[in-house]
């Protein structure tokens, strides 16, 4: 990524010639726009991007990007992306996945790509439903959700994406809302610049099979009071009138009102995304409405060594010490004899 580009790229440069086939009103359209916008601001030449996906509605994403793209098989995008990134660490690798693709069939690969900390940006479209197979519950569906395969309501506890990422030793976790293109664009840029596995959960609306699932939190009328946008180094304040905040009371977060009970802005928790100990970030990631606002923005961003660079370093170290420089050397190494 050292080349200087003379012509700055625009979002349009990232649009492919393929007709976008998501349902009208689907949240995926907005994600596509935000990603194209973010990419145009990274200063990376187009040929250095690779978009890798699994299976599901969102996984059609690479076809709509005028970059290198690979539409994989169900659940395996993390593994394919791992191979791409190891092969060429200079590429900006993006994994597009959904709640079923990443957390059900691909759960194993997902936790391991996060644990290994490959420098891959993972956009996880969470609509809490299986869309492409037409409306079955997913690992993030709320307990009790009635779907075609749970006609009497699900009896499973859902995954929380942030909890899973932190549990898998993840170093970057952010959350955004499909329709909030400005916030999403910022987050994608931050994710791209973070060295290591970045997971971005997008609260995404499936207009056909789970319409309005996030509406109670992200709806225009309520979102200021029911979500909060975290910023590193800034007090955790939210609300229509910017008068609510979070404090740490004992071992729990608590919503307080500034100006009530002697609370001032100085009492409010200051967000530290770079803190390696994930304790508070974990609580922030797990906040659920109605007890808490839902946290958006970059919740955790802790730099750390990446797998692909560690591998290259190891190769360089071994190369510099080894007497074996090519195949002929290897073939004639060790115990050999002449007949």
């Amino acid at each position: 990524m050292n080349e200087t580009i003379t012509n700055k790229l625009t979002p349009k440069d990232f649009k492919s010639d393929q007709e976008v086939r998501w349902c009208p009103g689907c949240g995926d359209h907005a994600v596509l726009n935000a990603v194209q916008k973010a990419l145009s601001e990274l200063g990376i030449p187009k040929e250095k991007f690779a978009f890798i996906s699994g299976i599901g509605c969102s996984s059609r994403f690479p076809y709509y990007m005028n970059t290198y793209g690979f539409h994989g098989i169900h659940g395996r995008a993390s593994a394919i992306a791992t191979g791409v990134k190891i092969a060429n660490p200079e590429l900006s690798v993006w994994q597009i996945t959904g709640d079923g693709d990443a957390l059900a069939i691909g759960g194993n690969h997902f936790i391991h790509v996060v644990r290994r900390n490959l420098d891959i940006n993972i956009i996880l479209f969470n609509n809490e439903i299986y869309g492409l197979t037409k409306g079955q519950y997913s690992p993030t569906s709320d307990k009790g959700l009635v779907t075609k395969t749970s006609p009497f309501g699900t009896i499973e506890e859902p995954f929380s994406v942030g909890e899973l990422v932190i549990g898998a030793k993840g170093r970057f976790f952010a959350r955004t809302v499909d329709a909030n293109v400005t916030l999403s664009t910022q987050i994608y840029i931050e994710a791209a610049r973070h060295k290591g596995a970045s997971v971005i959960e997008v609260l995404q609306n499936c207009v056909i099979f789970n319409d309005g699932i996030h509406e109670k939190v992200t709806g225009k009328e309520v979102r200021d009071d029911r979500t909060l946008i975290l910023k590193h180094g800034r007090p955790v304040i939210f609300g229509k009138d910017n008068d609510k905040g979070l404090i740490l009371e004992g071992l729990k977060l608590k919503v307080v009102k500034i100006g009530e009970n002697g609370i001032t802005e100085n009492d409010i928790l200051v967000h530290d995304a770079a803190e390696p100990n994930p304790g508070i970030q974990y609580m922030l990631a797990n906040m659920k409405y109605p007890e808490y606002p839902v946290a958006l923005g970059v919740i955790r961003a802790v730099p750390g060594p990446t797998y692909e660079k560690e591998l290259e370093n190891q190769i360089e170290q071994v190369k510099s010490k080894s007497k074996i420089k090519n195949m002929d050397d290897l073939l004639n190494s060790g115990s050999v004899w002449d007949a």
Binding site: Y63, H71, G72, A87, L91, H109, M327, D328, G334
Partner: protein, 610 residues
């Protein structure tokens, strides 16, 4: 015990080292075969060990064995029956007596033949009576007490002292075969360079065994003169290492960096281990979280321009099926190595079989052709791994290379090739002149597509598992699907133009043609050679290219009165041939016991057809 008879032949000899899986028998056998190879004998080895790392001590299930066949002439197999059996405990005798030549020599550690151990081995009364050991040249040496005595001044703990038992036994065998101790002593010096007391202990035990055998005049020492092998530089190599090195050689010849994404699985793990150790040659090895991730990461690395490999065994190949389909659909080069073991399911992990053939050929959804190759000796694993990679890259296709547990762990002396004698491999990169890049545009001759690697300007494109048009657009058009299915099929079929003809070993016509593939090679060659020497009109062919088949099969088959297909399964290759060449009648010789054929088994079955 009186010596009954000695049946050891002078041309060649088979020695089997056996003991508890913790007794170090694999090392003992390896050291013996290295010494023999350096001396100039031809040889083949066959390790035979249990799946359990430490099965219950003293039981038949826990016996680990290592067989070496060495000779004054070319050696094709590890041998059917041992002339000399080294058995460190009663269970080792129990497990191996049926593999020992009647009247052969058996060396035992007398001290281990306690009542308890005899019972653990499953003997009811006395092994000598139950297994007729008095019909063999039984050398009952008090090995444990001798090493205790020999090492008493070294200030080592009793456990460490007893661990040198295997070297005492090895010393005895060295005396029997008139071998020098030098190479083994050099090995101790290297291996224990930081623990001089262990160098000393092992040397003393080795020499003590040697002198003990001399003192008791265990047997007249036997000399097996060096084999008339071609001049040159040699090394000993196992099938798994040869496979790994064949891939490395292909990477160098293709100017590509090697990627291996694999999950540990017996008996294929050695390939991943060897390549993980080859960072000096720039290998990027990735131990994945499972078999599926192993191949998917390899596919990703292939997309991004590396020589991609994944290694596995039968159950792992099953897990990789869907991803192999993805590689077929995206037309990316990848080598999938299946080191076959006894199946189905977990089956017999440490035992050999040839029963994944149909899985390799057909075990996927859709019309999903891949190239299938099979190696037939530990050393030619190098050749076929190289060829698998060449075909994968030059034809932009997945290639499955079949080896097996017997080849993987077996070792042979190998005349070291020179890299300048191997052909260059030409990756079919998309050319700047052909812009705009069209992902599924094909080479008119090979029908393979061109490789545009991410990072290359102006060649951005999308591929994936959905059916596409030539331009890479997703398409459900019926005619387009049929067209693309046909292209993929013909692309693989056209590999036939670039593989060598099948070669008959023996006369080009006759009464019986023995047909086989893969690891049964040595046993077939020996059986057929012996029958030819007895005057029978019998020949042998070995298939290394399974899909596509070589072009001259029909010509060869038509010149024999009978054809018999010999394989370690219930007849998978025979059935494949029935499908491909239905005009011939195929007899079968099959075995599914987790063990290779014996030469005699093949001979007896062939004689019924002659």
């Amino acid at each position: 015990m009186p010596k009954k008879c000695t049946v050891i032949e002078k041309e060649d000899v088979v020695i089997r080292f056996s003991g508890d899986s913790g007794d170090g028998m694999q090392l003992t056998g390896t050291l013996f075969s290295d010494t023999a190879a350096i001396y100039g004998n031809d040889l083949t080895t066959f390790p035979d060990y249990p799946a359990e790392i430490r099965a219950p001590q003293g039981t038949v299930g826990g016996v680990s064995g290592y067989q070496v066949h060495l000779g004054h002439s070319v050696i094709y197999t590890p041998g059917d029956y041992a002339d000399v059996l080294v058995a460190m405990n009663p269970a080792a005798v129990r497990a191996n007596i049926k593999w020992t030549k009647f009247g052969g020599t058996i060396i035992i550690d007398k001290d281990n033949f306690t009542e308890k151990n005899i019972e653990k081995a499953g003997y009811k009364t006395d092994p000598v009576i139950e297994d007729n050991l008095d019909q063999y040249n039984l050398i009952a040496a008090p090995i444990s007490s001798m090493v205790r005595e020999a090492l008493k001044n070294l200030n080592l703990d009793p456990k460490t002292i007893l661990r040198t038992k295997n070297m005492f036994a090895l010393g005895m065998v060295y005396w029997l075969f008139d071998r020098k101790l030098k190479y083994t002593e050099q090995f101790f010096e290297k291996k224990f360079s930081k623990k001089p007391e262990l160098i000393e202990a092992n040397k003393i035990a080795l020499r003590a065994g040697y002198y003990y055998a001399e003192t008791i005049e265990a047997l007249a020492p036997i000399r097996i003169n060096p084999a008339p092998i071609a001049k040159g530089r040699y090394r000993s190599i196992s099938g798994n290492t040869a496979t790994a090195w064949g891939l490395l050689a292909a990477a160098e010849k293709a100017g590509l960096q090697l990627f291996i994404g694999s999950y540990p699985i017996t008996p294929a793990t050695g390939i991943l281990e060897e390549l993980a150790a080859r960072k000096d040659l720039g290998v990027k090895s990735f131990q994945a979280e499972d078999e599926i991730a192993g191949i998917c990461a390899s596919i990703g690395s292939s997309f991004a321009g590396m020589l991609a490999v994944t290694s596995t065994s039968g159950p792992g190949l099953a897990l990789k099926s869907e991803a192999i389909g993805l590689a077929v659909m995206t037309e990316l080069p990848i080598v999938i190595i299946d080191v076959q073991r006894g199946g189905p399911s977990t089956g017999l992990p440490t035992k050999t079989e040839q029963s994944d053939l149909l899985q390799a050929l057909f075990g996927r959804n859709g019309e999903c052709p891949v190239v299938v190759l099979a190696a037939s000796t530990p050393t030619d694993c190098f050749t076929y791994a190289f060829q698998a990679a060449r075909i994968a890259v030059e034809h932009m296709t997945p290639v499955i290379l079949l080896t097996d547990g017997y080849l993987a762990n077996g070792t042979e002396p190998w005349k070291i090739p020179s890299m300048k004698d191997l052909p260059d491999i030409h990756p079919p990169y998309a050319s700047e002149q052909d812009l705009p890049y069209v992902p599924y545009k094909r080479d008119p001759e090979k029908l393979s597509r061109f490789w545009a690697v991410p990072g290359t300007p102006n060649m951005e494109h999308r591929i994936g598992g959905l059916e596409k048009t030539v331009k890479g657009t997703v398409s459900y058009v019926p005619e387009n699907h049929e067209l693309m299915v046909g292209f993929r099929d013909q692309k693989v079929a056209r590999v036939a133009a670039r593989i060598p003809d099948l070669k008959v070993s023996g006369e080009e016509s006759g009464d019986l043609l023995v047909v086989g593939w893969g690891g049964s090679y040595g046993y077939r060659v020996m059986a057929v050679n012996e029958l030819q020497a007895e005057g029978y009109k019998i020949s042998n062919v070995t298939f290394n290219y399974i899909n596509p088949l070589p072009g001259n099969v029909r010509d060869i088959f038509s010149k024999f009165k009978k054809i018999v297909v010999c394989e370690l399964n219930l007849g998978q290759f025979a059935n494949y041939l029935r499908m491909k060449y239905p005009e011939f009648h195929y007899e079968q010789i099959n075995k599914v016991q987790g063990h290779p054929f014996t030469i005699n088994e093949i001979k007896e079955q062939c004689l019924k057809l002659l």
